[in-house]
Amino acid sequence: MVWYVGRRVGMSALMLALTSVLIFVVLRVLPGDPVTTLVGQTEGIDASQVAQMRHGLGLDRPLFMQYGSWVAGLFSGHFGVSYFSHEPVQTMMGGRIGPTVELTLVALLIAIVIAVPTAIYSAMHPRGVVDRAATAFASLGMSVPSFLAALALIIVFAVKLRWLPTRGYVSIVSDPLQNLKLILMPAAALAFTACAPILRFLRGSLGEVSEAPYIRTAEGKGMLRPTAIRKHATPNALIPTLTIVGMTVGRLLGGVVIIEYIFSWPGLGTLIVDSVFKRDYAVLQTSILFAAAAFIFTTLVVDLLYGVLDPRLKAATRESAA
């Protein structure tokens, strides 16, 4: 078990390192750097001034040295300095992680609270009204880009009913009620797309598990089928669903960028979009790496949990160790 955990953590660290190299190389090797963007706004700048600006930003140093100082900075808490506002990147990111984490977690919570009971009920009453509706809903949810879900919500709740504001952010500490009002639409839009894969997968695996001999045995002993599914099949089907929940976090991390942009939610997503428009590599590389790290970390946690929760896996590792 220790060996398994160690190997898995090591793999994640390696993935993260490779990801950082990839992000860095893609941003540096490709054409168009922040100096060109900066200069584009100013008239009459000559080549020597451009070279001087590159030097000032450290862009003229060899690539591996730039990478080295970026990574060294990451470890010592200095994430670099924005090419535009000249603010330290960690200050720019600092206040934005909270709102993004809050939004992602609320969305995930909504998705799970809707998907899990619906899937279990559908499996207990296969081909019933709920099952059919859930299948249709899941196939729609897979197809709706999060920004369209957001637009649909805005049309209903902001344009037609005028119940909810379309943009803004208030910290949960200063005004919990207003925070709830503001987070409702973005979180629901994200949850809508996150809900579908969880619902679909859990329903599918419940369907498979309910064919298992032990369910037939339970039925043979006089247990009603819905009860057998709820009591015996569900715990077994929930474990593999964990993997899908982990993957959903990845989807959410992508979706959150667009959703934050729509609702002017001051999180990492809007920061990323802003720095894409400005080609502010210093901000972009670190915030993207952050998002990737969050995803890699979630996958790691899910994998490790899986090892703890699934007795079969534990038995297998014990056997192979013996």
Partner: protein, 298 residues
């Protein structure tokens, strides 16, 4: 290697239905499923209307007419007009050329590169396989839309660039699938027999294995096209799509969103079209996959 020369002639053990090639057989069976027919029909309709946009569009997509600003849907402008008095139906028809072009182009790139990548990794095995598949893992560790943002920031977003960027981003997932297809077939008798006969690997892979794996790959291509459309629409919605005056469906949604409080139809029509197209592609892909799953195909 247990296959003897006498067993060689039956190279396609999975052929159980008629003499039709795998792909054609799949299409016939797809036609017996309501969702398959509906999704295919929607796609054909969208593609035809995009291809013949110059012939069917009632107006020029970029013709500005200030007096006709923000007309709601009417017989003259079925889908209404925008802030410059341009006909929205015409803009949607022409936008389809961009949205569908990028979607199909990117899906094609991801399939072709993915098949090459996955086939190569799967049949090479060993360290090379490990290396190629770990690369897939790393690329897939970053949510696609984030990667797309970085690449668009660096490369810009004109039509060919977007096709290549999105196509490359969807390649790893295709590669993973293509590799598993190779691994599934590589243990089959016909593959071993062909190797034993001394047929060059490349010919076995692309002459024998590819046709057998084609249905799986086609299903993946449909799903990749749906993903590509979501990515492109999202980028366009943020304002990082194909530059104006041409407007993709996502760009139209963006423009419509900015007028959402006084011209609701403006955002609704392009949004609905995007939804329809993505739903059709996803459903088609799912239907194909279901047909291929031996547990549900009969």
């Amino acid at each position: 290697m247990s296959a003897t020369m006498a067993e060689v002639p039956s190279t396609r053990p999975r052929d159980d239905v008629g003499e039709l090639p795998a792909t054609q057989r799949l299409l016939t069976r797809l036609m017996h499923r309501p969702l398959g027919v509906v999704s295919l029909a929607i796609l054909v309709l969208l593609v035809v209307s995009a291809v013949f946009a110059p012939l069917i569009a009632p107006h020029s997509p970029n013709a500005i007419s200030v007096v006709d600003r923000f007309h709601g849907p009417s017989s003259a402008h079925w889908f209404g007009t925008d802030e410059l008095g341009r006909d929205l139906l015409s803009r949607l028809l022409f936008g389809g050329r961009i949205a569908l072009g990028i979607s199909f182009g990117a899906a094609a790139i991801s399939t072709i590169l993915g098949v090459l990548w996955g086939f190569f990794a799967g049949q090479a095995g060993g360290l090379l396989d490990e290396l190629l598949m770990r690369t897939v893992d790393v690329v897939m560790a970053i949510p696609v839309i984030l990667f797309a943002l970085v690449l668009v920031a660096a490369f810009g977003s004109d039509l060919p660039t977007l096709i290549v960027i999105i196509g490359l981003l969807l390649t790893p997932a295709s590669a993973r699938l293509a590799r598993s297809a190779v691994l599934a077939e590589i243990r089959s008798d016909y593959y071993r027999a062909a190797v034993a006969l001394g047929i060059p690997r490349v010919r076995i892979l692309f002459g024998e294995l590819l046709p057998n794996a084609a249905p799986v790959i086609i299903a993946r291509t449909a799903l990749a096209a749906a993903d590509a459309m979501i990515i492109e629409a999202s980028l366009s919605f943020i304002g990082l799509g194909v530059p104006p005056p041409s407007a993709s469906w996502g760009t139209l949604v963006k423009d419509g969103y900015s007028q959402i409080f006084h011209a609701l139809y403006y955002v609704v029509f392009p949004g609905a079209v995007i939804l329809l197209a993505i739903w059709a592609l996803n459903t088609l892909g799912d239907q194909l996959q279901e047909l291929l799953d031996p547990r549900t195909s009969r």
